[in-house]
Amino acid sequence: MTWLVWRQYRAQGAIAFGLLAAVAAVVLIDGFQMAAHWHSMLVTCAGNSACLEGQPLVGNGVVSDLPYVSLIVPVVLGMLWGAPLVAHELETRTSDFAWAQSVTRTRWLTIKAGWLLLAAAVCGGALAALTTWWSAPINAWQGSAFEPGPFDTQGIVPVGYAVFAMALGIAAGTVARRTLPAIAVVLGGFIGLRLLISDVLRPHYIAAVTHYYSLTSSFTPPTSAWVLGQGAISRTGVVVPQGWGSLGYVVPAACRSLLAGPATGKGGSMSAMFSCLQAHGWRGFASYQPGYRYWPFQGIETGIYVLLAAALIAVTFAIVRRRDA
């Protein structure tokens, strides 16, 4: 059975492996250069953080986009390998050949889906490992990999995405019985779910830490943290995010005279405005996820995708076993 999977996928597997190796070579070369550059910066600046921040770190444009390219790899694997896994056999009726041999459909699907899910996990894991290693100087420079973007391309979450996209492709192909609609479902479903989870769910895996402070002082969240929001909040809960663009709409009447400056950009005193707001019960706030929650968040997000993948695979098994071929 494994031989059948190997025989069916060896050409595609070789192409995927070749691409992965090429990417790895480029990333390794660039990564070593960047690491060397980072070390020379560390030596030059001798621990002076202002000096470090003043220097550009990433020079090579092509490779610096690599993390974002790696975001589409799971969905491509799900479309090209996952969607046809059952659907193409049904379309070409080769299921009539495979299911008439002395192997149960359960075993047939276990082996086919098992190998492809493993391949997806390996691809996702390899790309994530490369990106994580390559990003080490950038992570050090920025002090964090918790922001959306780095978080989505490093650590273990890419494995979860890859396994989920593959499972989605397999399940969609089984339900639709045709490859093309299944590909569309993978594309739409994967991107939609990724956006939903990263934008709506992820900030709330663990309740965020909110720090309140006087507007006459200043507060900077730890650099390792993922800052969800910072700004000013009134006693009644009106929020003005940092940047202060919306201040004009909600500023108390007493402070309105000070608005001319910041609102019109004529160099009015921001500190006078903050003193006035503070006097009228406003406070500064910063809401963030502390850096030590990076790995718990990685674990929770990976877990969500792996569980969804398991549910999709369970549905696939139920359909393949019961369906009339």
Binding site: F97, A100, Q101, S102
Partner: protein, 300 residues
Amino acid sequence: MNTAIETHELSKRYRRVRALTGCTVTVPQGRVCALVGPNGAGKTTLLRMLAGLASPTSGTASVLGGAPRQDPGFLSEIGFLAQEIPLYRRLSAEDHIRIGARMNQRWDASLAHTRLAELRIPLDQPVGTLSGGQRAQVALALTLAKRPRVLLLDEPFAALDPLARQNFLATLTSAAADAEGGLTLVLSSHLITDLERVCDHIILLAGSRVQIYGDIDTLLTEHKVLVGSNHDTAAIERTHTVVQAVATAERSTLLVHLNGPVTDPAYQAEDVTLEELVLAYMGAGEASAAKHLTTVGEGS
């Protein structure tokens, strides 16, 4: 004689379409059975249910003493070749033989090799590049390599030219001979002429129902064509079952299922050919199906 295939009131419905209705048939072991009927009569549905690839809506089927099921023991006894001759187009015959070896406990690779070598079919070419006849031979060789005890072939001749048909039939008859009665064959076709030479048993479906089934020789002796000038068939119908009646100005031709000797001197009894028998029952089946549809239409 042992029974290889037995169905009781086997029915299959696809949403609102009746694919097969109340099918009750038996096929003794070692027989070569023709499954005949017009397109859409339910032949494919019956074969797929016997192979365990489709499940009945109601009724039961028993193949080699057990219900068709997804179980290695059952699957290894059954050879099934679908109408579309499904093979992996980009893989070679040799690849398929290796796949078979890995997906079957009992696998006679040398049998497949020998048959394909005899037919000079290249083993190393992608099967998608072979001719339709060669592909059918590859698929048949793979099905036979399982050494099944029941072989179900759905419209195996549909894509074949006359020479390829002949080769295909020769392969089948030699396989049946090799098995020495241990192989039961069911072949479907909408043309009885394809199957007449090899089959000794028949199941005739029309309008999703079984019209007749049984041993071909027995059926032929049970039926006669009555030719006579008498237009009043009431007397005949009292003793015999009229399957088909054709009347012209001069004479009536009746195909009847006999219930005793023909005593009416107005009629002359003639032997019936298998083709006449099949066509008469197909016509009767289609007519009753049409009548049934009309009744359903009026009822709703």
